[in-house]
Amino acid sequence: MSQHTISPEITFAPDHLGGTKRIWKTFYLLSILTIFELAIGLTIYNIHKGAHPNASLVLAFKGLVCILTLAKAFYIVSVFMHLGDEIRNMIMTIVVPLALFIWFVIAFLSDGNSWKNLRNTDAGSKPDTHLVAPAAKEPGQKD
């Protein structure tokens, strides 16, 4: 089969005539990662059901799910969207602006955390009394 040209500006038409093995491999990989995520989700559920949920253990599992999600995102973009097959110029023009998200996530989530501290301590004027478990609250208390 002959290589077709889409437009004259394209210097090197990538060879797409290979098999579908890579696509299916990526599908199995994404499925396995998703099953892992679900297993971790159910683990978190079971930890929460216990009498004294271990907060740092839950946080560690949540962090692990985030990493698995980033791995899934990488495979979708790189293989399914074929960004991995593009030339370096093209990859950089997409990926570099997205690096802003690193700052977004850190800045905004820490901002949210700061709101919580300010609210719980009346802007630092009293100690945080909110360290009790939420379920132990009296019904008359306002959140």
């Binding site: 971790i40 929460h48 999600t69 973009v77 969207m81 030339i87 998200f101 905004f108 955390n113 939420p134």
Partner: protein, 251 residues
């Protein structure tokens, strides 16, 4: 997959050729998707900020534990995993359609786009069921008395303004939920709704691609690049779902 050797020292920016080795339309599709990623990212990060600022947040395993035709059963994460697999699989059929497009294999492109459309419709149906369930399914909620009035029990569903998934209290030996954080419903319906709208428009785009393939437009044109661009959009929808799934259902 790109086996074409690019000679070292190729001058990409000298003019006469695309410095990205891609057509204008494809580069612009990527830029559109990048801007869309920022839109979704802004939504999800603002949700995260609100969630970090609250002492209590709803437990997703408690909210999303229902499954169609299994009333009353506690099946956390099960329905959303079905939705996730539907979307991943429709992504695979889409990438296969793009693959066959490169080979100018019209029949196969038709077949795979058809299955992608079916996958998209299945996902939308699942989402419709999930929304209906949240909006109509009621839970007992303990409402505190205001200004000395006695507290009482009400039946609440989940909407953008209220939800019954707050911390539990024990009143007279009976456990009740209290009103949950208001932001939960509004963020959930906003973000999954915006994503569902993307799925819907993706289905429409794929439908147009299906008709155009069937009419032989791409064979006349000599390439299936339009299917490739529609595929980029569809994969992006799948990509966003990966993050929605993480932020709303898993953590």
């Amino acid at each position: 997959m790109s086996t074409t050797a690019i000679p070292t020292g190729t001058k990409w920016w000298n003019g006469g050729r695309s410095p990205f080795n891609a057509s204008y339309g494809k580069v612009m599709m990527w830029y559109f998707l990048m801007s869309d990623a920022f839109t979704f990212g802004a939504f999800l990060i603002s949700y995260g900020t609100l969630r970090f600022s609250e002492n209590y947040w709803v437990d997703p395993n408690h909210v999303f534990s229902a499954f169609p035709f299994a009333e009353g059963m506690n099946l956390p994460l099960s329905f959303v995993s079905l939705m996730t697999f539907i979307l991943i699989f429709s992504s695979v059929t889409m990438v296969l359609a793009v693959h066959e497009g490169h080979k100018m294999n019209r029949k196969a492109v038709e077949k795979y786009i058809f299955w992608t459309i079916i996958g998209g419709l299945a996902f939308l149906s699942c989402q419709a069921w999930e929304w209906t369930h949240l909006l109509t399914h009621q839970h007992e909620v303990w409402i505190n008395g205001i200004n000395g009035a006695a507290g009482h029990v009400e039946l609440w569903n989940t909407t953008v303004s209220h939800n019954p998934f707050g911390p539990e209290v024990t009143i007279n030996g009976h456990q009740y939920a209290t009103p949950g954080p208001v932001a939960f419903g509004s963020y959930f319906f906003e973000i999954t709704g915006f994503h569902g709208f993307h799925v819907f428009s993706g289905v429409i785009i794929n439908l147009i691609m299906y008709i155009k393939t069937k009419m032989g437009h791409f064979d006349q044109r000599g390439h299936y690049e339009m299917v490739e661009k529609a595929g980029l959009y569809w994969h992006f929808v799948d990509l966003v779902w990966v993050f929605v799934f993480l932020c709303f259902y898993l953590i």
